[in-house]
Amino acid sequence: MKKLFLLVVTLALVLTCCFTGIAYADTTADNYDKTFAYGFVKEFCEKFPDRKAGINVNNPFVTDENGNPGLQQYLKNKIIEVSNGEISTNDVTYQEFAVNEYDKGYNVGARLAKQGTNKQIIIGAHYDSDGEGANDNASGVAALLMVVNELSKNVSKLSCNVEFVLFDAEEQGFVGSRNYVANMSQTVKDNTLLMINVDCIANGDNLYVWCENKHTDLADLFVSKSEKIAEKPHAVGTFNLNAGNGYGYIEIPQNSDHAPFRIEGIPTALFFSGTYSAEPWNYTESENPIKNTMNSALDTFDNLEKHNQAEFVIKIETTADVIAKTVLDGEFLQISANQRSQLVNYNILGNAWWASLICIGALGIAVLVLVLVYYRKLQKRSILGTAEIKSSKVFTTPDAEDIFTFKK
């Protein structure tokens, strides 16, 4: 009887893990292909091998020729499926925006609400891609779904509302996230403590988190949750280039959906993989050239598995685990609230364009006044002065000998 009871309990535990949760504590080379992360990335890439924003397959309100849901509808179903009943159909929203003159894009959003607070964090990942996009960014979507699953099991432990956003049109220049930020009211921006972005986490050599170009309490909190993740090395030197996405300086991790949030003063954390040294320009996806597949037709599920085996699943799981544990940490609310005061601001004189314009204007007026004064002085001198011949030369050559050949 005891044996039967133990068998039933064991079976119940196994079934619970298989059907209601996303267990990922012990992923190894033997079992990685049975994990949620593996299954999702594979299925997502097979079902939607071309997720370029704006093409017909992206229409969320129609099914394909086989009766399967469209891309956004599929994502909506996935969010609901993993949310342990905490997110219903009505809680998932589509935000429509124009990708370009002809095409529309759709951000897919869902919310885990915490009663009694207006404060929120945003966790995002883009789902569009150039080609199959297994690493960029099916891996990020998988991690986000795993975070949804983990946090929805612990709603009572949340310290603020959590908004999940799957962005469209990142590859077109963060069009989805720019539109999302443009539609946030100032109150919502003020109440947003943090934006966590997950992008390209599966294929690179290392797993990084990047908050600011210096140590922050928030980065320390993230890193403390796992030995498999490191803070991106801080860049040495600041490059004042227009290409810096509005940060005022240039660094490769600025190139993702968190940038529009950070420019608005909302603290951000980016999870990404790759190899990075202290030089701002020294980023590569991998030291192994054949693994450099980002934004290319080589970024396929087959290549991701072939080059990484269990490692890519472990990276996705680690990312999800770190984010979930950090958000559920008792100190998270206080640390993320303090993060605004730790944002790097290289421009101590302010970023306002009008202030810069006034400064240039003042300089220009000062120069103009001096020019006018000098011009009047010149005019007086020209009236009073003599038109003597000026034939000064700095160089004694070139002289006629340098130009002509004289017969001697």
Binding site: N240, E279, N282, V367, S382, V394
Partner: protein, 179 residues
Amino acid sequence: MFNKLKSNYNLSNVLVKIFFVLAVVLCTWQVSLGTIYYAFSGDMAKLINGFNGAAKLTIALLISALIGVILMLITPFLTNLFLNVAKIYSVPRAEYCLIVNLFCAIGFFVTGLLNLINLITPVFMVWGGVIFPFAVTAVCFVAFYLVTSKMYFNAVTKVHYFKCVLVVAIVVLAFEVLR
């Protein structure tokens, strides 16, 4: 040393041109690096294995040097154009072109040094990018005008020369700010 250079136009010309190219490299290497950094990401990165870090810096320096050489070749052409349009025929052109090159090189060199301040300690991260080139260009134009007007123009012709240099300065400064 200075007297030796004054007596040897060809040597001075070569030295100024070398200084010009080096100054352009110092002034523009960050922009070249940033451009490469964006241009050689994604698909392009795969075409050139190991093309990162020090290799990118080397190529950025080479691109800046190429820009320097092109600018060095264009400057005499533009200077001659300016003198023709302004109808100034009384200056020794080769010498005048060399002086233009020298002041341009000094401008690039000082801007490059000021850009290094941003790189090391970013006090004027955003404003510095606008104000440094503006201030340096303005000062270089003033210095250039004072030197050349004293050497080649009398009290009567200085007025015309001043107006011509002022027009060029306004065009260049406007370009500096709007860029």
